[in-house]
Symmetry: C2
């Protein structure tokens, strides 16, 4: 039986604990909401549960579609067990429609459909504000090898194709999302971290209502309501 | 004989005039210094001459090394004739050593030698502050084709190799620089714009003294002195 041991590190949204198995970590989803690289912060009771439930559901559904991840099992409403990996310090962003920093930086209207799904990388470094990095910058700074960058792109596009389908079925448009990948002890690249409304932009297909962290970023209403909508439509255990 | 006609457009550093030949434009170098996307400004008498002389010299020397550019001939201390092109809206940046925005954004110490010359692209758009763009962003937004991006990289690296040699001979380290390319009427990609201490970072090899626009950006002393040093070492007509 896997036992929860001491805290390894605490991020903005999750706490990571060691377990009695060196290949497994225990993840606890927090009720914290943060945006703009930690500039905007709030505690939202219930958010941890929602993200843990949604992430667990999505990783399970991905697995049914032959997309492996670090996810092992949910152990409580706010906790899950995952395979321990060394996170590759890149945020892997997939965009189907223009939004957020992409729209702002490049002057492209929010909601414009891109010609094809775009993969971007940001250096995962809070002190630097997670700056966008080009493939050549990643290579020259030895952040990741060219081979790893190329597999990350392929993997991210596969995840996008499957996730886009899931969300389509529940009347939600997958605008963009952020993934993190890690390497397990044998050096295999594995999808890690979370897939939740904190890390995806999700718009209702009919109304364009935002059902993701932009509700918090832009003060558009009740975050828990939006996340409950996603969890409910995915068939998860809602509290309504 | 080529005659100067009406002003076509005025940029931050140069004025571009039509001529009686539709394939040729008349460029006048201004005495304006601007930095931080136009936030910092000054008029520096004599700067236009220095950049016109230095650019003319460097484009001539590049040509002797089989690197074609838009440059045709110097017509006065502050003016030159160039082939008219449609500028590709990308700033092509080559970096041999970390400096400037690269150092700041990615947390790399200024002056650190890169493993190999890095080419970056920024979208040439003052309103957006010339944002960095990845190859995939350039492609999905149809800013340039993949083939054009690939030739721009090759061309920029060739220019870098030759320029690095010129500057080495005069005791100057070429840290980084920005190029612009355009397409002529037949669609051929041609090196255009300018190559000057406004668009290059140039450090004295012995003392690391900055001999470029950082003197203005960072208030390090007299800009004309620095530019005269470069012009003088290149064998140009100095005013000292
Ligand atoms: N399978 C895993 N093994 C080890 N660390 C992980 C795993 N999955 C995610 N992490 C890391 O857990 C940390 C905590 O997550 P989070 O609170 O989202 O952090 P952040 O503040 O960086 O967004 C992050 O550094 C994340 O990369
Ligand atoms: N051969 C050329 N044909 C047409 N336009 C050119 C050519 N070379 C440079 N230009 C353009 O001339 C304009 C004026 O130059 P500059 O003052 O440096 O402008 P900026 O403010 O954009 O830096 C720029 O838009 C530049 O791209
Ligand atoms: Mg996170
Ligand atoms: Mg210019």
């Amino acid at each position: 039986k896997v036992e929860k041991k001491e805290l390894l590190y605490e991020g903005k949204a999750k706490r990571v604990y060691r377990t009695n198995d060196e290949n497994i970590v225990w993840i606890e989803y927090k009720d914290s909401a943060t945006a703009f690289n930690g500039e905007k912060k709030a505690e939202i009771a219930g958010k941890g549960r929602l993200n843990n439930e949604i992430t667990s559901l999505l990783f399970s559904k991905l697995k049914e579609n032959d997309i492996e991840s670090h996810f092992l099992k949910k152990v409580s409403e706010t906790e899950q067990l995952v395979k321990r990996v060394n996170i590759i310090p890149l945020e892997v962003i997939v965009r189907n429609f223009a939004a957020g920093s992409f729209s702002k930086r490049l002057g492209v209207e929010e909601g414009k459909k891109l010609n094809y799904p775009l993969v971007e990388f940001c250096l995962k470094n809070d002190d630097l504000g997670d700056p966008l990095v080009t493939d050549d910058q990643i290579d020259v700074l030895e952040i990741a090898t060219k081979d790893d960058v190329s597999s990350l792109k392929d993997r991210a596009k596969e995840v996008n194709q499957v996730l886009t389908g899931f969300f389509q079925e529940i009347g939600v448009r997958l605008i963009d999302f952020k993934l993190e990948f890690g390497k397990d002890l044998e050096g295999n690249i594995l999808l890690a971290d979370e897939v939740s409304p904190d890390t995806c932009r999700l718009w209702d297909i009919e109304t364009n209502e935002k059902l993701d962290k932009d509700v918090f970023r832009r003060d558009l209403g009740d975050l828990n309501n939006a996340y409950e909508t996603i969890l409910g439509r995915l068939g998860g255990p809602t509290h309504v």
